[in-house]
């Protein structure tokens, strides 16, 4: 094992369906359908995917959706704004848990 993350994994991702191909096919079909133009454009979906990729900290997804966003016509500025949406929600999620702390402090303190 060379290590935990390997860029070749992304290229070979399809091989995950070599075992239980019926499940793999369902997943990849579903995945492809998610990203087609709909009420949201494919570019908007790609920007959401880029933000989520940063939130779940998946280097494969970050690579894939950085390229995909560019190819769908998004620029660096738009992609950075999408990133900050993920950052804001992640940060906000921590901060809002502070309300729990606050409640406890107020209950237990004098």
């Amino acid at each position: 094992m060379p290590g935990y993350y390997n860029t070749q994994h992304l290229t070979d991702f399809g091989k995950i369906a070599d075992v239980k191909p019926e499940l793999g096919k369902k997943f990849f079909d579903y995945y492809a359908s998610v990203f087609v133009d709909g009420a949201l454009t494919a570019r908007e979906k790609s920007l959401i995917a880029l933000a989520v990729a940063h939130a779940v900290q998946c280097p494969y997804c970050i690579d894939a959706y950085t390229q995909d966003c560019q190819q769908k016509g998004a620029d660096f500025e738009q992609m950075t704004e999408a990133l900050h949406v993920a950052v804001a929600i992640r940060g906000g999620a921590s901060l809002v848990h502070g309300m729990q702390m606050r409640e406890q402090v107020q209950k237990l303190g004098m």
Partner: protein
């Protein structure tokens, strides 16, 4: 000294005095880059290690022989002179390219050939074709021959003092303006063409709109042409067109009629950039992986005659830049062009052709699949 040479001196003086057009790059020729030579470009492309089943990938293996279609587009490249120096330029055009400008004799031969051709469209390109001293004469000859005329325009050239009044002149002749604009927002456009080009382009679009272009009138058609600002393929044309329309109208109050999305060809300055940025191998692999057989039917090489600045003939503007002449030995010059035997030629291809068959396809008329 003929009229074109004297007039050309005035053009280069104007370009020398032009401090307002931003420039992104310098020409390969000025840099004395080895890639200025077409043979070196072909060698570099052939040497990229892309293999399938341990055999180097050739375009012909995947695409087979391309079958010629009827002649529809008579494309004339009047030369490599341009007021800009974009990073992705497949022509290696620029203000210093006075070495490659169509001569009086060749212009005369082209005008005579336009009178004879059955092609319905005359597509004038460059460089910036509007800088050629006989551009208007060429347009008038094509309009007079009943052709639909396309001017492949870089937008900023329309703002040069020497071209004042040109937009109205084109409008009177119902010339379609096919204008390159890499992206509908500033950052990617300026990255490819030079800082400030986006604002100049929007300014030119305002003038075009004011002259009736880009407002749905088929006789004043403004087509925009987008190129990706980097080592990736073009966006989906239909979706991009909707997004561009909204963005350009909302942010800048300008409109256009249709959008073509092209892929960048791995030749000339884009090839140089791919090499310098370490993207060449991955980009070529991307083009091959995205090979789309459905893009073949609409390829421009099937229905286009491409005339070079020196009168030599090619299957497309990219082959022209690579010196890959029409496979009609002894007849690959506009002076002796024979349209009947042209239909029986074999189309010349090489590895750069993967640029036109990748993804949704790419042609002078936009996506093909």
């Amino acid at each position: 000294m003929n009229t074109t040479v004297t007039a050309l001196q005035r053009v280069t003086e104007d370009l020398g005095n032009d401090r307002r057009t931003p420039r992104a790059d310098s020409t390969l020729r000025r840099r004395c880059s080895p890639l200025a030579a077409p043979a070196e470009q072909l060698r570099v492309l052939a040497a990229v290690p892309i293999e399938q089943q341990n055999v180097p990938v050739a375009f012909e293996t995947l695409a087979g022989g391309l079958r010629p279609a009827g002649l529809e587009i008579f494309q004339v490249n009047v030369g490599k002179l341009c007021n800009m120096t974009c990073r992705h330029c497949h022509v290696d055009a620029g203000p210093d390219r006075t070495d490659a400008v169509m001569s009086d004799k060749t212009v005369d031969q082209v005008i005579a050939a336009i009178g004879r051709t059955r092609a319905h469209t005359v597509d004038i390109t460059g460089g910036a074709p509007e800088l050629h001293p006989r551009f208007r004469e060429l347009v008038d000859a094509a309009v007079g021959a009943g052709k639909h005329v396309m001017d492949r325009c870089n937008l900023t050239v329309l703002l040069l003092p020497r071209n004042q009044g040109l937009i109205d002149w084109l409008a009177e002749r119902k010339v379609e303006v096919v204008a390159s604009l890499p992206h509908h927002r500033r950052p990617n456009t300026d990255a490819q063409r030079g800082r400030g080009v986006f604002d100049r382009s929007v300014e030119a679009m305002r003038l075009l709109n004011a002259a009736g272009y880009g407002r749905g009138d088929p006789h004043r058609r403004l087509t925009l042409v987008s190129n990706p600002a980097g080592a990736f393929l073009g966006a989906s044309q239909a979706t991009a067109e909707r997004e561009w329309r909204q963005s350009l109208e909302r942010e800048h109050g300008v409109t256009f009629d249709r959008l073509f999305v092209l892929n960048n060809m791995p030749i000339s300055r884009f090839l140089d950039w791919l090499q310098q940025s370490g993207n060449l191998e991955a980009y070529m692999r991307k083009l091959v992986q995205a090979f789309n057989p459905a893009a073949i039917a609409g390829l421009m090489c099937r229905n286009t005659l491409s005339v070079g600045w020196d009168g030599r003939l090619y299957d497309c503007d990219f082959n022209q830049m690579l010196d890959l002449e029409l496979a009609m030995p002894g007849a690959a010059h506009i002076a002796n062009f024979d349209e009947a035997s042209w239909h029986g030629r074999a189309i010349v291809t090489a590895r750069h052709c993967f640029g036109c068959t990748a993804g949704a396809g790419s042609s002078c008329g936009g996506q093909t699949a």
